[in-house]
């Protein structure tokens, strides 16, 4: 599995996420411009996911600063095949600045780590978890991202372990 930047992504943050998850950084191959939707002024997440799958051979998680959407939702923090080999997440709405607040690099890194691990769980077949503290709990707002822990609950860890053993 590799962590691949989509377009420009803060290098330092990518390095720290890579170190904390032990996922190596791969080359940047996807141009986010192909997924731009001028009506919504956002990037089509599903289109980027398809592009990631087409341009990389193995398991890949894309990291982007672009504001992502799927047609029926106003935004998404990320999207993944479940199970599959491609996923992506965005830090656009994880930044304090998006909500009119002063920037906070540490908070952003912790939120990004949770989203990365969340999408990784989906890649390995985990659905959302009813345990609010589990990183696999659904997070439809940044407050929910902050509420959860960085790790998987016992039940999800077991399922993840089982799945990864089989993989």
């Amino acid at each position: 599995m590799i962590l691949a930047p989509i377009g420009d992504f803060p290098e330092e943050l990518l390095d720290r996420l890579s170190r904390r998850t032990s996922i190596p950084i791969g080359p940047s191959r996807v141009d986010p411009a192909i997924a731009w939707n001028s009506l919504r002024c956002q990037y089509d997440s599903t289109r980027l996911l398809a592009e990631l799958k087409a341009l990389y051979d193995g398991e890949v998680i894309g990291a982007t600063v672009c504001d992502l959407f799927i047609p029926v939702l106003t935004f998404v923090f990320g999207e993944a095949e479940m199970p599959g080999r491609a996923a992506l997440f965005s830090i656009h709405r994880l930044r304090q600045e998006f909500y009119g607040l002063p920037g906070d690099a540490e908070l952003l890194e912790n939120r990004a780590l949770r989203e990365l691990r969340h999408e990784m769980g989906h890649l390995h077949g985990l659905p959302h978890c009813p345990d609010w503290s589990c990183v696999m709990s659904s997070s439809h707002s940044v407050e929910r991202v902050d509420n959860k822990e960085e790790g998987y609950c016992v039940s999800c860890s077991e399922r993840l372990g089982r799945r990864m053993t089989f993989a």
Binding site: T46, I70, P71, V72, L73, A80, M82, C129, P130, H140
Partner: protein, 453 residues
């Protein structure tokens, strides 16, 4: 993870919307299916139950509101949320007036969608739970009040029910048709720790071998011609409750083998499937035939028989507890008089004599039908012999032995004197001690009031 996966049907003519929502709700942990149109959705709803339907308002042909109307008209037990890309107060009001749970405008805020869906499913769950509890209360009432009888045999049955209900053993109920085997099964279930989960009933005798397999174990989509949808079997549907297998002697040897495996391993594989599914249930089986004989004839597996025959309850035939006939007849008379708003107060003497003298080959069910008919055709306040559609039992089965005639005569005289044994013995021309011994010998009890188990 929740124990039961909730199911959602997405109805939208736009593929991108269907795909996005199916993907999103799958991630949320729901079981999701989609339909391209309202007629397609109705076809799917006819085949299986969904907990929630999320339908677009604007679709070619039948629109979302019409779909909602059809769902309500068919009284399908599913919540409906309507969605549209064009927000307007009029359409929202129309949708809600037609019974939609809520109304949402595309694109949705993920958090809003999540909350609306969660609330709709919660409301659906509460409705279902409410219906189930109402049903359980009425079943409780029916089960406990209809196990009527003061005879020693019925008292023993009630004791056995109380003994076995609390432990999780398999129960085998033996008894002729119409003796109330299903009532006993319901009473065992209602008094057991599994009472908050369903009791599912399988009438084995009414099903062919293929049907019974599908009925018991469920099937996967495409498992056989006509299997358009995946269907859960009764063992899965019991969800921790009780599976009542009526007429167990009628199942084929192949199904007996499958059933034995399920009882031993507590796992099933749906027809056409490969995955083992763990199931939690208690089995109560019933038969109106002599299973031991059928085992001897090689038509019933002995190992399955021993698995089922952990605790046996034998239900007496009505002719073996004549003393309960007046009590049961009065109970059914009250029941149907109330139901049909008639003013019957009882049976006249000769009508009661006829009831006591009858052989009752159809047991309590026959008695109930006879009394129900009498309430329809009779003239209040008393049921008369002409109101009772009694024919002599086939093959001259009415017991005309001296003993049976004496028994019925003693019951009649005792009832004439309101069970005053001194007066009854004088009328019978025997002494009190002899009457006392005869009462004990025939297991007679005064029908003072209905006994409730």
């Amino acid at each position: 993870m929740s124990e039961e996966t909730l199911s959602i049907l997405i109805v939208d003519d736009e593929q991108v919307v269907r795909d996005s929502l199916v993907h999103w709700f799958t991630e949320e942990g729901y079981e999701v299916d989609s339909s391209v149109s309202a007629p397609d959705a109705l076809a799917k709803l006819a085949g299986r139950e969904f907990d929630l339907v999320i339908a677009d308002i604007r679709m070619p042909g039948m629109d979302g509101i019409e779909l909602l109307e059809k769902i309500r008209a068919e009284q399908l037990d599913t919540g409906v949320i309507v969605m549209t890309g064009y927000a307007s107060v009029e359409t929202a009001v129309r949708a809600l007036k037609h019974g939609a749970f809520d109304y949402i405008t595309k694109p949705f805020d993920p958090d809003d969608l999540s909350v609306v869906v969660r609330n709709a499913l919660e409301q659906h769950r509460l409705k279902r739970e409410n219906r189930l509890l109402r049903q359980q209360i009425s079943e409780d009432h029916a089960s406990l009040t209809e196990l009527i009888g003061q005879s020693e045999a019925m008292r023993h049955v009630r004791e056995q029910i109380e003994t076995v209900a609390g432990v999780d053993s398999t129960v085998l109920i033996e008894g002729e048709s119409g003796t109330g085997k299903e009532l006993v099964a319901r009473a065992v279930h209602r008094l057991s720790p599994r009472r908050y989960n369903p009791m599912v009933v399988v009438h084995c005798g009414a099903l062919t071998e293929t049907l019974i397999e599908s009925e018991l174990f469920g099937h996967e989509k495409g498992a056989f011609t006509g299997a358009q949808y995946r269907k859960k079997g009764k063992f899965e549907a019991a969800m921790g409750g009780t599976v009542f297998l009526d007429e167990i002697a009628d199942i084929s040897l192949k199904t007996q083998t499958d059933l034995l495996r399920v009882l031993q391993e507590r796992e099933i594989v749906r027809v056409g499937g490969t995955q083992s599914i763990h199931v939690d249930f208690r089995v109560i089986a019933a038969t109106n035939r002599n299973l031991t004989e059928i085992v001897k004839e090689g038509r019933f597996r002995s190992d399955l028989y021993y698995r089922l025959n952990v605790f046996t309850i034998h239900l007496p035939a009505l002719r073996d507890r004549y003393g309960d006939v007046p009590l049961l007849a009065t109970h059914f008379l009250d029941k149907y008089s109330k139901q049909m708003n008639r003013k019957f107060t009882g049976f006249d003497r000769s009508a009661l004599d006829l009831l006591i003298a009858h052989h009752w080959p159809g047991n309590v069910r026959e008695l109930e039908n006879i009394v129900e008919r009498a309430v329809v055709v009779g003239h209040e306040p008393l049921v008369r012999p002409a109101d009772l559609a009694l024919t002599r039992s086939p093959e001259g089965a009415d017991d005309l032995s001296i003993e049976a005639v004496e028994r019925r005569h003693i019951i009649r005289v005792l009832e004439d004197f309101a069970w005053n044994q001194t007066q009854a013995s004088k009328a019978l021309g025997i002494d009190r001690v002899t009457l006392y011994h005869k009462i004990r010998r025939y297991g007679l009890k005064p029908p003072a009031k209905a006994v409730r188990a």
